[in-house]
Structures are given as structure tokens and as C-alpha cells.
């Protein structure tokens, strides 16, 4: 077996000759943040996944948000916007004098049209891209741009604001250098401009011609670290001044003198979905064999869970409220404050009632396969999911359910959903909280394609009526009716409304303010104030 007497020198020569030992100077004015690895490391925002949090410093969407209230404001690239009566034609007025990075000139309506083309191109995989498609975008004059949609799209400001699906790139750069130019050194309009990236990190520097609040730090260095213990170590050893730690490590960081910053509003609405209920009449995919097809079982599962206790376990530093799912958020269509008052009665921890409901439904004997299949599906920005699902498993087992935990990735569950065979219960999150129309499309209605499992004739009919309606009061009434119905049907297991939290080193950072209404959860990097 020792047939390689001389392998050693070759191996060593081969391996050791490669690799230069380069030291990296520590800039005095540099802010280093250890953040979770983005889904994709590319400069092409429209073709990447889960990368808002690392592109935010340099790229901006059309609509800005107030750092405290989270309200859409005219302080960003669009200074104002309006829709026609049926919400099909949207006109945005652009801010004048906005400069692109690296000297690519002033931003005009042409850049918006160009960016829109990029973001609806063949290779675009941004969320809700299908909603952006189908419109025509035209530059009316240098500072006016108009989108015309075939159907009403009431929530376009959300897509360009909180969702921020479209980032503004420079057309001048594209015309001169093409996509390769973007790959090498893209120009955006944000408070920081791109300097360089290498695997696992990205370096920005302050953009001195930024039109808004100027950044305190000269450089912003983002390092992508997935291992939470390593992230905490970086923070404590002074290698990073900011880290997006999992919430269970926050106490450790605070105990060592670090401070916590959180978004002013909840950034994630987290629930656990009863999938597989594709039950419009005549639909063969309907999971009527599933225990949770029975409304009593859905209610019983909800009553088995002690959310208060879960919250203490999962969010020891606070920042999470128990989510009353179908009240939606204040200001959204169909918001019904009365649901909150009924939550305890309909969803609250009540083991006795849960077991009564199970007995009524004949669980487990009445079901062919009584297994409650809980899927541990990782969710970016929510590292609490595994423990959450383990807790859920423990509660259901304690209540007498035959629960089984299984691990699956986002892709597998997504494929099963699109194939209409996701007969599973799995976690889900909205980031940021969706307005009503977007929520309907994503979760409940057949017209937009429900990928999370609840479908029946009643819901579909109502949502179609909602989408067709343009009268505000009528829309609100329909939405309210739908939310009340879903609430009473217990179509999911609402969990928590969670704020984004990060830990920072008070020797370097004095404060930070961000609203938490955008897809990145945290952002507004120019609002990071330097200590002293």
C-alpha cells in the first residue's frame, strides 16, 4: 500500500508554493461588520438570492423609508409618486442632481427604465418578479418615469420600497462597459460606493457626493460569516464592530460589554404553515387525507402551543411579539383590530381544549396516517427555526399528537409546493410584512398561485373580487371578511412578529437607527454613528 515513496515532496511543493502571505492594514476609519453569508455573491442584484443586506450600502430602490417610522418618504430617488384611478398607471417623479458612483453621471429616468429592463430580464430571480413583469416603463422626461400595467397593482410602492425588488443601476456604465463593468465595479447611488469584493467579503467606501445623510465611517467592510460562534468571537475580539448574531447569543455579547440595536418595527412575520390544502372543488391535489385537513385538528395544534414560553426561550432579549396573523398590520387593507382580542380564545395555550378537539375529531384512529409532519426548513434571518420546530415537536408530542420532525431545505419544499404535493407543516416568514394584495397572491389565492397551501372556492372567489375592486372601502371590507374567515379556519400556526437585532461594539459605534421595513431587515448604513 505504500506505493508513493516520493509523494511527500511533490505534495508539499505543490501545496506550499501556492499562497502569498499578505497582511491587511486596519484603516482607522473602517467599520467592519460580520454578517450572514448572502445567498449569492454577485454584483447583479436581479440575478442573486438573499443579498439585500450586503448590497444595501451601495444600491438603492426607488422609494426610501424613514429611519424611525419606516414610512415611505420622498427623501429617496423618487421624490413623489402617484397612480391613476384604477392603479394601473404609476408615475414617479425623480430627485434631481443624484450622482452615480465612480463618476457615471447624474441619475435620470433612463436609468430607471434600464434598471427595470434588467430586473425583468430572463435571468431575473428576484421575489415577486412576476408582478413586475408585463408592464411598460417609459421615461416621460429626464425626471419622470411611468409604469403601465395591464392589471391594477395597488402595491407597487411596496415593491419599490419595502420589498425593494428593483435596484437602480447606471445606464451610462452599462452602455460603456456592459454587464462585465457591473461585475468588476458597479455604480449605484447609495451612501457607500463599491470598492472591491473577494470571496467572503465586500468593501465599500463612503460616497462623498451622496445626496442624503452622509455616512460617518470612511469605509465599510462586510465579512460573510455563517458560523455564529465565530461571529461572536469576531465581535468580542474587536475584529468586527457589528455582528448579526442569532438571538440566543445576544445575551453573551451583552454580558461582555456589547450593545444591542434593533429595528424600530417588526421586520419578520413568522408563522408555521399547514401546507397541502389545495382544496378547491375538483382539485385532486387536495390533501384531504391529512390530519390537518380537519379544522378541529388545526385548532387543536394551535391550542397545544405555549407561545409565551416559546418566546422566552427563543427571544431572551425581547424584540418579538406574538403574531396575530390575520389582523395583518395597521394601515394595511383589511386590518381588523378585533382579531387580537379573540386570539387567546382561538389560538392560546389550552391543552385541555386541544385534547377535547382531538377527541372530537377522532384523533388518531380516524386518520389513515395521523403523523403530523413538521419540517425544519432554514429561513434566512431566522436562525431560531430549528429550536422553534423542536419546541413545536415537543408541545405536539405532549398534547398526544404523533409528531415527526424532518429536515428539508428551502428548495425541496419550494419544488413540492410548485408541484402541489407539499403535504407538510413548515415554517415560513414574511420579510418585510406584506401588504394585503401581495400577501393574498403569495399565500392564499389561486389566481396568483398559492404556494403555501390554503385554497378553496370561497377564498379564491373573494380574493378575485378583492383584486378586481378599486374602491378603497370595498377592498377593505372584502379583505376584512377574508381575514376573519382565515382566522376562524386556523389556516396556519401564527408565531411571532420579530424585530431585526444586531450586536455592536460601543467603543466603535455610538448608535444606529433603521426601521426594519425593508427586505434586508437592517439597512440605513449611513445612520451608523461612530463613537467619539
Amino acid at each position: 500500500m505504500l506505493d508513493g515513496l516520493s509523494r511527500a515532496p511533490i505534495m508539499i511543493a505543490l501545496i506550499a508554493t501556492i499562497g502569498l502571505f499578505t497582511g491587511e492594514p486596519m484603516a482607522a476609519e473602517r467599520l467592519t461588520a460580520a454578517v450572514s453569508k448572502p445567498g449569492t455573491e454577485t454584483n447583479r442584484f436581479w440575478a442573486g438570492a438573499t443579498m439585500w443586506h450586503v448590497m444595501d450600502p451601495a444600491l438603492e430602490g426607488l422609494i426610501a423609508h424613514d429611519a424611525v417610522t419606516g414610512e415611505a418618504t420622498g427623501d429617496g430617488l423618487a421624490s413623489s409618486w402617484e397612480a391613476n384611478d384604477d392603479f394601473r398607471v404609476w408615475t414617479f417623479k425623480l430627485r434631481e442632481g443624484v450622482q452615480f458612483h465612480h463618476g457615471w453621471g447624474e441619475m435620470t429616468a433612463d436609468d430607471i427604465v434600464h434598471s427595470y429592463t434588467l430586473h425583468t430580464g430572463e435571468d431575473a430571480i428576484i421575489p415577486t418578479v412576476d408582478q413586475l413583469r408585463g408592464a411598460t416603463a417609459e421615461a416621460i422626461d429626464s425626471y419622470t418615469v411611468r409604469f403601465t400595467y395591464p392589471e391594477p397593482i395597488k402595491d407597487l410602492p411596496f415593491l419599490h420600497g419595502g420589498r425593494s425588488v428593483m435596484k437602480v443601476y447606471s445606464k451610462a456604465q452599462f452602455d460603456a462597459e456592459g454587464l462585465e463593468g457591473y461585475d468588476a465595479k458597479f455604480a449605484g447611488t447609495g451612501p457607500f460606493e463599491f470598492v472591491s469584493r473577494s470571496p467572503g467579503e465586500i468593501l465599500y467606501k463612503r460616497f462623498d457626493d451622496y445626496y442624503g445623510q452622509a455616512a460617518d465611517f470612511e469605509e465599510l467592510h462586510l465579512r460573510f460569516v455563517d458560523e455564529a460562534a465565530t461571529k461572536l468571537a469576531m465581535l468580542l475580539s474587536g475584529e468586527a464592530a457589528i455582528a448579526d448574531l442569532p438571538r440566543e447569543l445576544m445575551s453573551d455579547a451583552i454580558g461582555q460589554g456589547m450593545k444591542l440595536v434593533q429595528s424600530s418595527l417588526a421586520t419578520i412575520q413568522n408563522d408555521v404553515v399547514f401546507n397541502g390544502l389545495y382544496c378547491e372543488s375538483g382539485d385532486e391535489a387536495c390533501g384531504d387525507h391529512l390530519p390537518w385537513h380537519d379544522q378541529r385538528i388545526r385548532k387543536a395544534i394551535n391550542h397545544s402551543i405555549n407561545r409565551e414560553e416559546m418566546r422566552e426561550v427563543l427571544f431572551p432579549q425581547g424584540g418579538a411579539d406574538i403574531l396575530v396573523r390575520y389582523a395583518m398590520a395597521e394601515g394595511h387593507e383589511g386590518f381588523d383590530p378585533s382579531l387580537a382580542g379573540r386570539f387567546e380564545e382561538e389560538y392560546g395555550y389550552n391543552l385541555e381544549l386541544a385534547q377535547q378537539l382531538m377527541a372530537d375529531a377522532g384523533y388518531p384512529d380516524a386518520f389513515e396516517d395521523p403523523t403530523i409532519l413538521l419540517i425544519m426548513k432554514p429561513e434566512s434571518g431566522l436562525p431560531e427555526v430549528p429550536v422553534m420546530m423542536e419546541l413545536l415537536h415537543a408541545y405536539l408530542t405532549a398534547a398526544g399528537f404523533q409528531a415527526e420532525l424532518r429536515e428539508m431545505d428551502h428548495a425541496t419544499v419550494g419544488a413540492m409546493g410548485r408541484g402541489r404535493e407539499a403535504y407538510l407543516i413548515h415554517p415560513s416568514k414574511n420579510a418585510p410584512p406584506r401588504p394585503t394584495e401581495v400577501a393574498f397572491r403569495a399565500f392564499y389565492s389561486n389566481p396568483g398561485g398559492p404556494y403555501q397551501g390554503w385554497e378553496n372556492d370561497w377564498t379564491t372567489g373573494k380574493i378575485k373580487a378583492f383584486n378586481a375592486a378599486t374602491d378603497a372601502a370595498e377592498r377593505d371590507a372584502i379583505a376584512k371578511e377574508v381575514f376573519n374567515y382565515l382566522f376562524e379556519q386556523h389556516v396556519d400556526i401564527p408565531m411571532f412578529a420579530i424585530r431585526a437585532q444586531l450586536a455592536y461594539n460601543p467603543d466603535v459605534v455610538a448608535s444606529w437607527q433603521f426601521p426594519g421595513v425593508t427586505s434586508s431587515g437592517y439597512g440605513h448604513w449611513n445612520y451608523v454613528k461612530a463613537a467619539n
Partner: protein
């Protein structure tokens, strides 16, 4: 000699071909990249569009031959996850980091294993021997990610001697190299020890002693020089385990190498990159072994006719 060489080269090519099939099959097995790239709320139309765009709607065998044809020209396709970059480019961009860490890990493990092995041989069956054995075995008895995290906490957070993670100067390499290399120490130390025992017993060493050469010279120069050949042979086998180790260690230390790339590519079902990683790992391994076998055959004529 030529015939032997030709045969080995032919065998290696066959192995690479087999590995290309495996690499292709593995990536197909993992499911469609469309599912991993699409956001939760995307519908079937979006999935269909991307499937077509990335050529995943063609029959599997057709996809394989396209892949093979391109691969023979050194083109493993464009990455799906890292839009705008070629699969091979991504691998080559990160390979130096992995080789650097792996090489350093080998050096670290040698620096620990050889002295411990020599001392264990000289002081055979004494507490020194036992102690050395335990030190060596410890590396094989701890999960490497746990060892890595503990090292970070001791040396980077508490003592602040070394950086926690990332790639940079020499100091960045020490902790990950120990976490990666300690595992090899036990085997290497055992080989050194047994080789030293044999050599220390040889006529050659006895002669040196008789001639009045000081004992430290006998051990550390005369004996070790002859014993060193045996443990060195072990390095060829390490090549594979370096890549395996890199997947875990690079995650813990946020070391931007191919191991980290491999995980991301598999989780993202980025076929071209998965294939490029597997082919590169296997290619390096096979190439090293081919080189070594060739050289060995050149040095030791008996091999050729076996």
C-alpha cells in the same frame, strides 16, 4: 517504462471519465437549481422559464454529453448561483486558499508528529511515550469543528494572540491549520515512531554509536534521516482528507476556499459549480498520485513489471 506510464495515464483518464459521470449524476440527484434559486412566492411559470433558460429541460443524457463536450474543452459552464462567473473560474479563484491552508496544515502536523514520534521511539514504553501518544490521539478524538471553535475562544478571544477567522497573513492560518492538521498527527506520529524503532535497531545506527557519535546526533540526524522516508509516504493519502476537512474547517473559520464554495454550490444546486468542484478535487488527487507513481516507478524499477 513507457508502457507502464501509458497504462497509468490511460487508467487515470478512465478514472476521470468515471468521475465525470459521477459528478454529473450527483448534481442531477440533488434536484433542480431552479427550486433553490427561486424565492418562496414564485410560481410555476417562473420555474418553467428558468428551467428553459438554463437548459435543464433537455433530456439527461443530452445534458451529459453537452457537459462532457464542454468539459473536454476545459469549459464547465457558467455558474447558476453566481451569475456572470464561470464555474471553473470560481473554483480556481478559491483553490489557492484551500491549498494554502491544506499545505500549512500538513506542515503543522509534521512539526508536531515527527518530534513526538522520535521521542516516543527513543523513550519507548515510558511515560514520555504514553504522553506523546495521548497528545497525538487527541487530535483524532475531537470533532474538528469543536476543536476549531475552542481554539478561537482560547487564542483569539481570551488571549488575543491570533485573529479569529478569515484569510490574511500567516497569523490567520495558524488556528485553522491546527484544527485541520491535528487529525493527521496520530497516524504520522505512529509511522515515525515505528520507523524510528526499526532504524534505531539497525546496524547502521549501532555503527554510528560505536564510532562515538553523540547520542542526540545519532537520533536526530542519522536515524531520523533514514526513518523519515516512511512517514513521508503517508502524505499522498492525505490529499483526499484535506479537501474533506476543508469543508468543515473553512466554515468555522470563514476561510474563503473551495470547501466553502462546495457547500454553497450543493445547497444552491449549482450544477456546473458542483461538477467543477468534484472534478477539481478528484483531478488534483489523481494527478498527484499519477505524478508520484511515475516518479516512484522511475526510482524503483521493480514496480514497472509488477
Amino acid at each position: 517504462m513507457q508502457r507502464y506510464l501509458l497504462r497509468r495515464v490511460f487508467q487515470s483518464l478512465l478514472a476521470m471519465l468515471a468521475i465525470s459521470v459521477i459528478a454529473f449524476a450527483l448534481s442531477q440527484l440533488s434536484g433542480s437549481p431552479v427550486d433553490s434559486m427561486l424565492p418562496q412566492d414564485a410560481g410555476p411559470e417562473e420555474a418553467e422559464r428558468l428551467t428553459k433558460l438554463w437548459g435543464l429541460d433537455r433530456p439527461v443524457h443530452e445534458q451529459y454529453f453537452i457537459f462532457l463536450g464542454n468539459a473536454l474543452q476545459g469549459n464547465l459552464g457558467q455558474s447558476i448561483k453566481w451569475q456572470g462567473q464561470s464555474a471553473m473560474g470560481l473554483v480556481l479563484e478559491r483553490l489557492p486558499a484551500t491549498l494554502q491552508l491544506g499545505g500549512f496544515a500538513i506542515i503543522v502536523s509534521t512539526l508536531i508528529a515527527v518530534p513526538v514520534g522520535v521521542i516516543a521511539a527513543v523513550y519507548k514504553n515510558t511515560p514520555f511515550d504514553a504522553f506523546g501518544k495521548i497528545i497525538a490521539l487527541l487530535g483524532q478524538a475531537m470533532p474538528n469543528f469543536w476543536l476549531g471553535i475552542v481554539l478561537i475562544w482560547i487564542f483569539a478571544v481570551h488571549l488575543k494572540w491570533l485573529p479569529t477567522s478569515g484569510r490574511g497573513g500567516l497569523s490567520h492560518m495558524i488556528l485553522p491549520a491546527i484544527a485541520m492538521g491535528w487529525f493527521q498527527v496520530a497516524a504520522l506520529m505512529r509511522l515515525t515512531r515505528s520507523a524510528m524503532l526499526e532504524v534505531l535497531d539497525s546496524e547502521y545506527v549501532k555503527l554510528a554509536r560505536i564510532k562515538g557519535v553523540p547520542e542526540w546526533r545519532v537520533v536526530w540526524v542519522h536515524a531520523l534521516r533514514n526513518a523519515a522516508i516512511v512517514p513521508l509516504t503517508y502524505f499522498g493519502l492525505i490529499a483526499g482528507s484535506i479537501f474533506t476537512g476543508s469543508v468543515v474547517i473553512e466554515t468555522v473559520f470563514a476561510w474563503p476556499g473551495t470547501g466553502l464554495l462546495a457547500i454553497d454550490a450543493i445547497r444552491g444546486r449549482d450544477f456546473p459549480v458542483v461538477q467543477a468542484v468534484v472534478l477539481t478535487f478528484a483531478g488534483v488527487f489523481i494527478l498527484v498520485n499519477l505524478l508520484v507513481d511515475t516518479l516512484y516507478a522511475y526510482l524503483d524499477p521493480r514496480i514497472r513489471y509488477k
